[in-house]
């Protein structure tokens, strides 16, 4: 036991300097992408229209389009990897993906794990889909009621703690919505932009999005934490800045039929070139 302790101490003392060096830019990921000629991007494949599959099995959507723009700018090939909420940060940490654009909400706890790069490319709030007949007006009306949700969403815990609702979590969106139809819960809690698109399809007659959206939070794309303040992080900042300025994000939003958000409009105006006409 003493031997082990001594060994561990020796190791930690010996490795100490390396930890300090790791803070400086080695640009491992950036260099690796440039050398191998392939940028591997983690995107969602179960979040229409942000990232979903066509019948050939290819992943398409707004975020794959953004990934393609990044790869084109870097002059490398693009490889898309389907990630889910529960593994996207681990994949990036492990190096399985170089960049993650996967509908991730920018949260403080997540910034400790991955390098989330600003300016944020999108924003969404939390809202519910509920039958009109129940006449919900405010979040407090939900107290003590069963509410369906999807596993891994950060707002599940928030609404549970703040309003005392009983979250009934499902693995997929279809299952959760079916549960709402089967009246196993009084509402379906989800992103407001997604609920908006759902209602716009006209297949949810008798349902509404009655509450004021809460926790409007920006979405962030992420690079490995070590690259945050290095070439890759600064490059991604620049990409997003340009997307906001030249209206690329607004175009993509329209292309994929996403409900227009005031956020993208205001960012576009704020970053407008003062010399342009």
């Amino acid at each position: 036991m003493k031997k082990y302790l001594a060994l561990t101490t020796a190791l930690s003392v010996g490795l100490g300097p390396f930890a300090a060096i790791a803070q400086e830019c080695t640009n491992d990921t950036w260099n690796h992408v440039m050398e191998s000629g392939t940028l591997t991007v983690g995107v969602k494949a179960d979040y229409k229209p942000w990232g979903f599959r066509n019948t050939d099995g290819d992943i398409i959507g707004m975020e794959p389009d953004m990934a393609q723009l990044v790869a084109d700018t870097m002059g490398v090939d693009l490889e898309l990897v389907a990630v889910v909420s529960s593994n996207r940060m681990q994949f990036l940490e492990q190096g399985q993906i170089d960049l993650m654009i996967a509908t991730m909400t920018d949260r403080p706890d997540r910034r400790e794990i991955v390098g989330i790069i600003g300016p944020n490319y999108y924003t969404s709030g939390t809202n519910i889909l509920a039958p009109e007949a129940l006449e919900f007006d405010e979040w407090e009306d939900l107290r003590g009621q069963p509410v369906c949700a999807v596993q891994g969403a950060f707002y599940n815990q928030i609404v549970e703690e703040r309003y005392g609702v009983e979250i009934v979590a499902f693995g997929g969106t279809a299952e959760g919505r079916q549960a709402l139809r089967d009246r196993r819960c009084v509402a379906w809690v989800y992103d407001d932009s997604s609920i908006g698109s759902t209602l716009a399809t006209g297949e949810w007659e008798g349902f509404e999005m009655p509450l004021p959206s809460e926790d409007d939070s920006p979405w962030g794309l992420a690079v490995p934490l070590a690259e945050q303040n290095c070439i890759f992080g600064n490059f991604m900042s620049g990409m997003q800045y340009n997307w906001h300025q030249d209206g690329t994000l607004l175009e993509l939003e329209e292309k994929w039929g996403i409900q227009p958000t005031p956020y993208l409009q205001s960012m576009n105006e704020r970053m407008a070139d003062h010399l342009a006409e």
Binding site: D46, G95, G171, A174
Partner: protein, 295 residues
């Protein structure tokens, strides 16, 4: 006094005397082939009923978006779900079974080693992997293993499904080792003694006398575990490995996540898995009957 019934006459026969109950071969005993026995006991004609029931159940559920639309949607996705999805389930199960069988055979023989320490290690490994939830093992392997390894300067990528193979082969290894150990120990000890008296070495006895007798006995439980493993491969979908169930969810998302899609799409997965595992279960029971010990 008047209320007191007489056991065996006015009431159910009971006694507190130590009486040996008659042996009931169907009750209580552990049945290692439970899954296969149950699956194989489904008569083939029911399978056709089930196939008929599937669209009917789906039709009963539809509201606006008709179920016919849902089946048209399914039709578009069938090539993708089958050839990029279910093929991976089979691939994962075959590879995991191969690795699990080889490792399990070694581990099973370690159980009957003459060295105490080897027996103890084998016992510990078996118990560890036999009693851990499969999902936990999968999570550990998927998240703890590197996504690529470097061997002599060349980088070998390890895709998610390969890690799933490793994760699933661990519990298979432990269970196969129990099958091997049980089969070896089921051979009467007189065989060992007879072999020893004929000057066979221990290795010779094992390979030339004991194992050939065990082999037939091991096939039915082995196939049983294969069917269980195949049915467990959708667990990988929780970890984002591209396989049938994961792709089914993604396909439903692409079709707008209409609840009407649930029964047709998951029903299709059911049909695929059933079509694959049912013949295996039937064959397992047929072989079990054929190889049953004749007393």
């Amino acid at each position: 006094m008047a209320n007191r019934a007489i056991p065996g006459v006015a009431a159910h026969a009971t006694t507190d005397l130590p009486v040996m109950l008659p042996f009931n071969p169907k009750a209580g005993a552990h049945d290692e082939l439970l899954v296969s026995r149950w699956l194989a006991s489904v008569p083939p004609r029911y399978v056709f009923f089930l196939l008929l029931l599937w669209p009917v159940a789906a039709f009963a559920q539809g509201v606006d978006y008709t179920t016919a639309d849902a089946f048209v949607a399914l039709w578009r996705w069938i090539p993708f779900l089958t050839f990029q999805g279910f093929v991976f389930n089979i691939l994962i199960s075959v590879c995991a079974m191969t690795i699990g069988t080889l490792a399990g055979a070694v581990l099973g023989l370690a159980h009957v080693s003459r060295l105490r320490i080897i027996r103890q290690v084998a016992w510990f490994v078996t118990q560890l992997f036999r009693n851990s939830p499969w999902l936990v093992l999968l999570f550990i392997v998927l998240l703890a293993f590197p996504f690529q390894i470097e061997v002599f300067g060349t980088t070998i990528p390890i895709p998610g499904w390969v890690k799933a193979v490793i994760g699933l082969s661990l519990p298979i290894m432990a269970n196969i080792s129990e099958i091997v150990r049980g089969a070896v120990q089921s051979v009467p000890s007189a065989q060992w003694e007879a072999a020893e008296s004929l000057a066979f070495t221990r290795t010779q006895t094992l390979w030339q006398i004991i194992l050939p007798q065990c082999f037939k006995r091991m096939i039915p439980p082995w196939m049983n575990w294969y069917a269980i493993l195949t049915m467990a491969t959708p667990l990988c979908s929780l970890l984002g490995v591209g396989e049938n169930i994961n792709f089914t969810r993604q396909a439903m998302e692409a079709e707008g996540n209409r609840p009407e899609l649930l029964v047709p799409f998951f029903g299709y997965s059911l049909v695929l898995f059933f079509a694959y595992c049912y013949p295996i279960a039937r064959a397992t029971m047929a072989l079990e009957k054929r190889f049953a010990l004749k007393l």
